[in-house]
Symmetry: D2
Subunit: 352 residues, 4 copies
Amino acid sequence: MKRPARRRIEVGLLGATGMVGQQFAALLDRHPWFRLTWLAASERSTGKRYGEIPWRLASAMPDAASKMTIEEPEPRKAPNVVFSALDASVAGEIEAEFAAAGHIVVSNARNHRMDPVVPLLIPEVNPEHLGILRAQKKAKGWRGALVTNPNCSTIFLAMALAALRELEPRRVVVTTMQALSGAGHPGVASLDALGNVIPFISGEEEKIENETRKILGRICGETFAPAAIAISAQATRVPVLNGHTEAVSVGFSERVSTEEIREAFRKFSGKPQELGLPSAPSAAIVYNDAADRPQPRLDAERFGGMAVQTGRLRPCPVMGHKFVLLGHNTIRGAAGAAILNAELMRAEGVIQ
Amino acid sequence: MKRPARRRIEVGLLGATGMVGQQFAALLDRHPWFRLTWLAASERSTGKRYGEIPWRLASAMPDAASKMTIEEPEPRKAPNVVFSALDASVAGEIEAEFAAAGHIVVSNARNHRMDPVVPLLIPEVNPEHLGILRAQKKAKGWRGALVTNPNCSTIFLAMALAALRELEPRRVVVTTMQALSGAGHPGVASLDALGNVIPFISGEEEKIENETRKILGRICGETFAPAAIAISAQATRVPVLNGHTEAVSVGFSERVSTEEIREAFRKFSGKPQELGLPSAPSAAIVYNDAADRPQPRLDAERFGGMAVQTGRLRPCPVMGHKFVLLGHNTIRGAAGAAILNAELMRAEGVIQ
Amino acid sequence: MKRPARRRIEVGLLGATGMVGQQFAALLDRHPWFRLTWLAASERSTGKRYGEIPWRLASAMPDAASKMTIEEPEPRKAPNVVFSALDASVAGEIEAEFAAAGHIVVSNARNHRMDPVVPLLIPEVNPEHLGILRAQKKAKGWRGALVTNPNCSTIFLAMALAALRELEPRRVVVTTMQALSGAGHPGVASLDALGNVIPFISGEEEKIENETRKILGRICGETFAPAAIAISAQATRVPVLNGHTEAVSVGFSERVSTEEIREAFRKFSGKPQELGLPSAPSAAIVYNDAADRPQPRLDAERFGGMAVQTGRLRPCPVMGHKFVLLGHNTIRGAAGAAILNAELMRAEGVIQ
Amino acid sequence: MKRPARRRIEVGLLGATGMVGQQFAALLDRHPWFRLTWLAASERSTGKRYGEIPWRLASAMPDAASKMTIEEPEPRKAPNVVFSALDASVAGEIEAEFAAAGHIVVSNARNHRMDPVVPLLIPEVNPEHLGILRAQKKAKGWRGALVTNPNCSTIFLAMALAALRELEPRRVVVTTMQALSGAGHPGVASLDALGNVIPFISGEEEKIENETRKILGRICGETFAPAAIAISAQATRVPVLNGHTEAVSVGFSERVSTEEIREAFRKFSGKPQELGLPSAPSAAIVYNDAADRPQPRLDAERFGGMAVQTGRLRPCPVMGHKFVLLGHNTIRGAAGAAILNAELMRAEGVIQ
């Protein structure tokens, strides 16, 4: 069901000039529910037309955005709903300021993700976490609200684990092979990236290990009770443009068959599919039968970059089962994640 | 102790034209103990001078080899000791034929590795496995002998686990990120490799899981008893030229500290170091303190490509401990492995 | 003006399984004038469903095509209009057979390009070359007809030179940096491509030098008189997925200003734009003002891959002027070129 | 003839921490004539041990250097001879200060290259340009001296043209495909480099066009008279680690045969070869007969990275002849060039 959108809601974008900010601008172009009317970025860019910023996506810069002037991140001038692609060095303070001033902030930044009254939202996984917003208002005294989406690698893993929820996954060992676009621009130096694997991404493993437990947990009083699942991540950077690949081993509380897991992946669905949210992929998780898929170069852009793709499911002699997953890090893993969050929030009446 | 080599032993090379064959020729050039005097390859190349073959290493083709004529893989003409870099499609039969005819075959091919009377040798790890050769002679009726080295990814993992042997590792989950040179030439198509991760390498995971148990096992009567260790591997191909990276999680039979593991890596040493074998790295395992090392592009060529490099050792919330390792796949993982095997065999009197 | 297409014309595709064949299938999906109803390929693939073929584009395989069965390249079963993405090793004979049997063959193969009665067609450049088809019928005795498009690098250069035609370019020195997809799959081995430049592509330089003269020439009696322009090409392969870059120096018969050249690029247009052909880019040549553009990764996919992008125009101290150009090699340089040719042929009544 | 070096001369290194600085340190390790005893870099690094600096070469950091402390670029503490790998933003002033203070500065920086009394030296090409140092002393009032080596791409082209000097090359059109290491670290962002060609390198084309004329010119009174040769360069950046490839077309004053050119390449030699300078390649220019060579990945490291490799010589229908050349940009194109300059200066008595 596509919700009839009589008028599109005006939205703003904080941190419009970075890689994720550009992805937001691209995805919001001609969005059926939202109209991007306000762009903000750091001092270096304010006053410039967006079209003057070096555009780093292979698609063309949206015409409408290219003509807009980049403003200061100042709440008074911004529309009620703002997306945040701010850098973590400034996101914490600015986002809080916007929420305090009454804005609904839909953020991709990491700063508030683990805050006990901030939802770490994946619409297919934990839509009920929006229920914490009452406690948030109370605890923070904000007139607005702040909702975050998880780290890119975390989203893909959490969606896969959510699909398996009824099978009771208890232990996860995951190695990520992450794309360069995840580090922004200029990000990784080409001399470090070309023909290389960098076996370290600062803070990434902790995010995967901690955020996933919060996402899969439940509201308990005025905060979240994390899920009882142990996760161990090794994060690496590989010379890929877009698309994080993850090699996952999972142990369950009881014996599970590969067929049960494959079926759980295939039938996994949630509110976005149910409500027909505009950015929702028709299947949240796609299972590939081909022995050598998914692959980032061939598969990351498929399904609008919004599905998590899985493959190579088979028994793991140590843990239980193992498989490979792939997600588009700047779409489902960042800008698209936040936009889907906002769509859910509108469908649920949080954004009006 | 460098063994005084009065005269160098003549050696031959089966499969001289492939990537691994070329690496053999490069490493055997000016070898203090061995003199490469005979090259063989498939029909397509026989009769050509080696210098006419397209040379695919960044180092220059050795002068001496370049002038040699490529012969048929025919035992009668070959020296007593032959290295085999044959393709698995033909190695099984040809190597057996040479061993039957009295040659000592030091092979990198996979065909005979899991044979119950063939040593799967890593000199630092299981030099005593040469003891099976008596049983081999008896079982096969060969006048010569056949010794193999493990699969590249297996060697690096087995060396790391051997270093930890006294700490009793029991469960291993490993994800490999393997270089393109491991697939030979032409190997992986550039359209498949560039900017991509291919999450599948045919047969690789089974080799890592099975070979490691044989290597870490012991001779038991006239065959091998595999080690009691469960291993689960996910093998991927990444756009790296040389150097396989592995993200490893290990569980031990009892509680172990990171410091014990780091020490075990640092003090690990074996017969090659003790005997001063010409190709032995001074340290079999090198531990890197830098947070983002080892990296294939920067580290694979170090220590002559013969050491296994480790790093990022830290607790694993699921398994016990985790770390990253790196090895040069065509040197320590193939040609260099076989040459070190031959050096051990000479030092032990198997090759005379 | 978009021509009202009452019914779509059925078309077939020879060589459907290769890289260019797949690009044809992707571009013909939902084409307003043509409906792909017949796929043929070599023996190895006949009888398979198209969906079983490994699909190598980042976009999804078109649904309709995926259900079709691959047939033998046999004229009797094919629709009247067939595109050819055949490999040069077989294209010569098969295409002639189809043309003889009455088909209109729109080919991307190189075999007949330099035939004195075969048009080497770029709709913006030499639409009048279709006039040779009368002579072709006579000379060949074919009931059908054969039209070819040039080599990829040639198309981009010929379009740029056609834009400058009135300024009378006389001498051209060009270095191409060509993408890997131009070599098909498996094509270039990854070990040869990664981090490398291969300064040789067999036959490429001759094609650029000779085809361009034919394209820019004119019909003269029953054949073509080549243009009086001297061209020297150096062709290299670089590790780029899609998009050939060319560094061009041009000398003119008289003194010309950079402004005249830039204007000529900007105003260049032809029959496809005039007739509103479905695959025509709105501008045949796009000039980039940014100092470091066009770049294949960022720009090749723009404008549907059908425009030639230029930039960095400046005086050349040796030749006159120099600039950089970029074209998408499998779209404007191959499948898209042939489809645009067929669109022109339909608009002109050659295809009915 | 290797000059007997009774004692090694102490040398310093300005700008020791960058990519070129590291290459200097690597090449000076165990140099038979020079001993690196003093390292300087910008404020950010002074006081640190060199071993603490992130080392970016695939070879190991030299032991001796790793233990040295990085000092301020202060003439009083430096040995008499200093190499400069300083960044252009600071090199101009600091190098002049050192020369004024009596040091012999052998610089790779671009700042003083086009100064009318500073030699732009390639030992095989213009060793007699050292004769300008008298005029330099007079004009500058320096107690020491300053000698520079050309830009990397320029060196390779100038060496090739010097080999052809007697054939009187008059017009050159060159397209360069330059490696990432030429931009230093962090240099080019990986998102810009991977799978891409960047058709612009700031200032590079001007350097190639202007420096070459100075190098091939001659001393005329108290300055240089540039050579009468017109050069047009297009410089591009490609995803290659080391090794600049150049596609060159040359026009001569009179008709010349390819055989004459090939012979001129083959027999080209100069003072470094004659004097047996330690870093001199045995052949200054190597001609490759293979149709697809030289290639940066396979060939750049050969001959110690100090030879210019050529290939693909053939007639150019526009200019006269064309060929491909390759040089190692951080060795022969930078650090190795300066060291060879210093070796020549010592052999000629400028350094004592």
